[in-house]
Amino acid sequence: MKRIKVSDIVPFAAFIVLFVFFTIVSKGKMVSAYSLKMLLEQSILTIITACGVLFVVAQGSIDLSVGVNVALSGVVGMHIATVTGQGWLMIPCSMVIGLIVGLFNGVIVSKCHVPSFTLSIAMLIGVRGVVNYIQTIIGIEYIPESMLFVTTSTFRIIAFIVIALIVLFVFEFTRVGRYSQAIGENETTARFVGIPVDKMKILVFAIAGLMAGIGAVFSMATVGGTTMTMGAFLEMKVAMAIFFGGVLVTGGSSARFYKVILGSLSITVIVYGLSLIGMSDSQISESVEGGLLLIILFITILTNRHRASRKKAAEAEE
C-alpha cells in the first residue's frame, strides 16, 4: 500500500486551516457562493502560470521571468491584434511570444549552463525595461469588441479547467513530467540512464513560457486590457504558491500537480481573506503573506527532516 507521508499532508492541512480561520474571522462571509467564485477567479492566473513553472521546478530549476513574460506577451500580443484589426490574433500571438521567451531561457540554461535563478533574474529586470519602453510608446490597449467573450467568467472558468486538465495529464501521466522529476531527483542519474536532459531542460522552459503567454490572455481578460502593472510580482506569487504547496526547491518527486492547485488556492485565501476582514491595506497583507509563507516552509522542512532521520536509521541497520 502507498503510505501517506506527513509532508504530503501539510499543503492540505495548511489550506484547510487558512480557510477555516478566515471563515470564522469573516463571520462566514468566506463560504458564500460569491466569495468562492471570486476565490477561484483570483487564483486562475497564479495557477495557470504556476502550472508551467511546475515543470521547471520539478527539474530543480526556477523560472522567475514568468511575470515579465506575461507582461511582454500580453502587451505585444494585444498590440498586434489592435494594429491588424484582427482581434482573435491576441490569443495565438501572446502564446507564441511567451513560448519564444521561454525557449530563449531554456536554450541559455541548457546550452550555456547558466543557473536558471541568475538568468531569470536578469530576464526579470531586462524584459521589464523593454515592456515599460513599449508601453510608454503605445500606452494601454483594450480588448477589441469581437473578443469581449473572453472576459466572461464562464469562458475563463471553462478555459481554465480545460488547460488545467491538459497540464495534469502532461505532468503526471507522460514522460515529460516523469523525466523532469527524474532530472530533479538526480541529474547525473537521468543522464546516465539516457534521458535527453538538455532537450528536457529547453522543453520545460518553453512550457513555462507558453503558460505565461496563456496567462497573459487570462490577465487581460480579467481587467479588460493591458495595464502598466501587468504581471508585476506574479513570479513571486507563483514561486510562493509552488513552495507553499509543499514542493521542495530541489524538485524531483516532491513536485506534484495537486500541490500547485492547493498552494495557489491557499495564497488566494490569504489575500482574499484579509480583504474580507477589512485588512486590504496592501502593505499589511503582504507582510502577513510573507509571515505565513515562512511558517509553512518551516513546517515542510521540519517534516522532511523527520524523513531524513528515518533514512539515517535505515542506513545504520546495515
Binding site: 500500500m1 502507498k2 503510505r3 495529464f169 501521466f173 507522460t174 514522460r175 515529460v176 516523469r178 523525466y179 522529476q181 527524474a182 531527483e185 538526480n186 547525473t188 542519474t189 543522464r191 546516465f192 540512464v193 539516457g194 534521458i195 535527453p196 524531483g252 518527486s253 524523513r307 528515518r310 533514512k311 536509521a313 535505515a314 542506513e315 545504520a316 541497520e317 546495515e318
Partner: protein, 500 residues
C-alpha cells in the same frame, strides 16, 4: 597497558523498533587485525559507528585500555586514538582535498582566524607519505575526483590522528588493485607497530588473507569468533548465512560459449585523456570482461559505449539494431542498458520510490496513446520485478533510501532486465553487496547470457571477471593490452602480469 586494547561487553543499539546490535561482546587485542563479517543488515556498520563515536550506545559497556569508554562524537573517539573510514563517502565535495584531510581540525593551522593553507597541504601530503600512500592532488576540489581518490583522502584523514585502533568499513571495495595492496601493507605495518585494525569487508577471501581473527555477525548478534589461519571461506560463508551455500558461485564451465552473431562493433574509439584506439566485437550471449587498474580506462569503456563521453574518434555500432550510438538517449532506446559504478550518485534516484526507479528506463516502452503512462502499468512492472528479484521492501512506493545496499543493487540491475535488452553494460555490479546478493547477481548474469544478451562486465575484482567472462580484455593507460579467451590461460597470474 593490558593485552586488550578494546573490550566491548553486552553492547545494545536500537533504531526505533529495530534491534540493530544485541548484546555484542567483542575484544580487540593490541597488534591484532580483527575482521567483522556478516550479511547486509547484520549490524556491522552500526557496531563500528558506535566505537567511532557516531552513535551513542543504548546498553552495555566499552573499555579502552581497561578504562570506561563512551565517545559522544568522532572527535572524542579521536582523542582516545580511535578513528574510522566510513562506507558511505564522507568528504566535502567543494573543499580541496587537503582541507578534507584535516576537516574539523583545521584550527591547528590557523593564526588569528586565518588558516595557513600551504602548511595544511604540506602536512596532508606528509600523512600520505608517512603511510606509503599515493596522494591525490591536494589543492583540487574533491568533487571532481574519482571515488578511489576520495576514499584515500578519508583514509588519510583517519590516519592523521595517529590512531591506535583503525576502523575500516568496506574500504577495499572502492580501491583498485594497486591501492588495495598499499592498504594491506599499511595494515601489516599497524600490526608490527603493536596497533590494531578492525575491518569490515564483503570479500571473504580477502578477509581470511589479511586478518588474524574474524568475528561473524548475524541479525545483530555475534555468531562466533574464529582464528583466520584455522578457518576456510566456506566455513565463514556458512556462519554468515546460517546454512550451507551451494558451491556454484561463478560459472562452472571452462571454455567460452557464445553465438556467432555480432551484436556490437566498437572500432577505434578514442576519448581524450581516457581511451585510445579501443576496438572489439561483442557476440550474442557473450560476457566480455574488462580488467585493469582503476585509471586504466576500464570504466571509461562502459561510458563510451553507452554514448556518455565525447569521442574524438571511432565508432560504436550496435549491429543488432543497426544503430551508431552517439548519445545515451539513443543507447537507451536501442535495447542497451548501463549499470554505472557509483550506485547512489550515478544510477539511482535515492529519494524517489522503488516504482519510479524500476520504471525510469522503460517509460518509452510503457507509454500508450498520446504518451499516456498508465499508473497501473507502471505499478505492474515494478511489482513483477520486485517479486522476481525478491527485493526486500514494504511496498513499491517505499523510497529507495530505505533499502539496504544489496536490495538497491537489485533494483539498479533489475530495471534493465525488465527491458528487452540486446546489450548490457555492468560497471562493478557487485560493489558493496553481500555474498547472498552477489551469488544472485551472478545467476542473473548467467540467465541473461542464456537469453542471448551480450554483456560487458567491468570490474575491479579480478576473480569476478575470471569467474564470469567468456573473454577478457586487459587495459592499461587507456589501451587494450591483451585479450584472453576463457580457458587454461584464464588465471590471475596471467592477467596481473599484463595489468601492471
Amino acid at each position: 597497558m593490558g593485552e586488550n586494547f578494546l573490550e566491548i561487553r553486552g553492547l545494545d543499539k536500537f533504531f526505533g523498533p529495530t534491534h540493530a546490535n544485541r548484546g555484542i561482546d567483542l575484544t580487540v587485542k593490541r597488534g591484532e587485525i580483527h575482521g567483522l563479517i556478516g550479511e547486509n543488515g547484520s549490524g556491522k556498520s552500526t557496531l563500528l559507528s558506535q566505537i567511532a563515536g557516531l552513535y551513542r550506545r543504548d546498553g552495555g559497556e566499552m573499555f579502552v585500555d581497561g578504562e570506561p569508554y563512551d565517545p559522544h562524537s568522532p572527535i572524542d573517539a579521536n582523542r582516545r586514538r580511535i578513528s574510522m573510514v566510513m562506507q558511505e563517502l564522507g568528504v566535502v565535495g567543494n573543499l580541496p582535498a587537503g582541507v578534507n584531510v584535516y576537516l574539523g581540525r583545521t584550527g591547528q593551522f590557523s593564526k588569528f582566524g586565518i588558516i595557513n593553507m600551504r602548511k595544511m597541504r604540506r602536512e596532508a601530503a606528509g600523512q600520505f607519505e608517512k603511510w606509503g600512500l599515493d596522494a591525490p592532488p591536494l589543492g583540487q576540489m574533491t568533487d571532481g575526483m574519482m571515488i578511489e581518490s576520495r576514499k584515500m583522502i578519508e583514509l588519510a584523514r583517519a590516519l592523521s590522528v595517529d590512531p591506535e585502533l583503525l576502523l575500516l568499513d568496506e574500504v577495499t571495495q572502492s580501491l583498485s588493485l594497486n591501492n588495495r595492496n598499499k592498504l594491506y601493507e599499511l595494515i601489516r605495518r599497524f600490526k608490527d607497530m603493536g596497533r590494531s585494525v578492525l575491518v569490515i569487508t564483503h570479500d571473504i577471501d580477502e578477509m581470511v588473507e589479511i586478518t588474524d581473527t574474524i568475528t561473524v555477525l548475524r541479525d545483530g548478534q555475534v555468531i562466533g569468533t574464529v582464528d583466520s589461519r584455522k578457518t576456510t571461506p566456506d566455513e565463514i560463508r556458512m556462519m554468515m548465512v546460517g546454512r550451507e551455500l551451494s558451491g556454484d558461485y561463478y560459472r562452472a564451465d571452462n571454455a567460452p560459449s557464445y553465438e556467432d552473431e555480432v551484436v556490437l562493433e566498437v572500432s577505434g574509439v578514442s576519448v581524450p585523456g581516457e581511451l585510445e584506439d579501443v576496438s572489439f566485437e561483442l557476440h550474442r550471449g557473450e560476457i566480455l570482461g574488462f580488467c585493469g587498474l582503476s585509471d586504466s580506462g576500464i570504466h571509461a569503456v562502459g561510458k563510451a559505449v553507452y554514448g556518455l563521453s565525447k569521442r574524438s574518434a571511432g565508432d560504436v555500432y550496435l549491429k543488432a539494431n543497426d544503430a551508431h550510438i552517439v548519445n545515451p538517449t539513443q543507447a537507451m532506446q536501442s535495447n542497451m542498458g548501463y549499470v554505472p559504478k557509483d550506485r547512489d550518485n550515478e544510477a539511482l534516484m535515492i529519494h524517489a520510490s522503488i516504482r519510479d526507479n524500476f520504471c525510469l528506463p522503460s517509460l518509452t516502452e510503457l507509454k500508450g496513446a498520446a504518451g499516456f503512462l498508465n499508473p497501473k502499468k507502471l505499478g505492474k512492472l515494478a511489482g513483477e520485478m520486485r517479486d522476481k528479484l525478491s527485493v526486500k521492501c514494504t511496498g513499491i512506493f517505499q523510497p529507495m533510501d530505505a533499502l539496504s545496499g544489496g536490495n538497491k543493487q537489485k533494483v539498479n540491475l533489475g530495471r534493465w532486465l525488465a527491458k528487452d535488452l540486446k546489450l548490457l553494460i555492468l560497471d562493478c555490479p557487485t560493489r558493496g553487496v553481500d555474498v547472498g546478493v552477489k551469488a544472485y547477481i551472478y545467476s542473473l548474469m548467467n540467465e541473461a547470457k542464456r537469453q542471448g544478451i551480450a554483456t560487458i562486465l567491468i570490474s575491479d575484482e579480478l576473480t569476478e571477471v575470471l569467474g564470469m567472462a567468456d573473454r577478457l580484455m586487459v587495459m592499461k593507460d587507456g589501451k587494450v593490452t591483451k585479450t584472453i579467451d576463457r580457458g587454461p590461460d584464464f588465471t590471475e597470474q596471467s592477467v596481473i602480469g599484463v595489468m601492471i
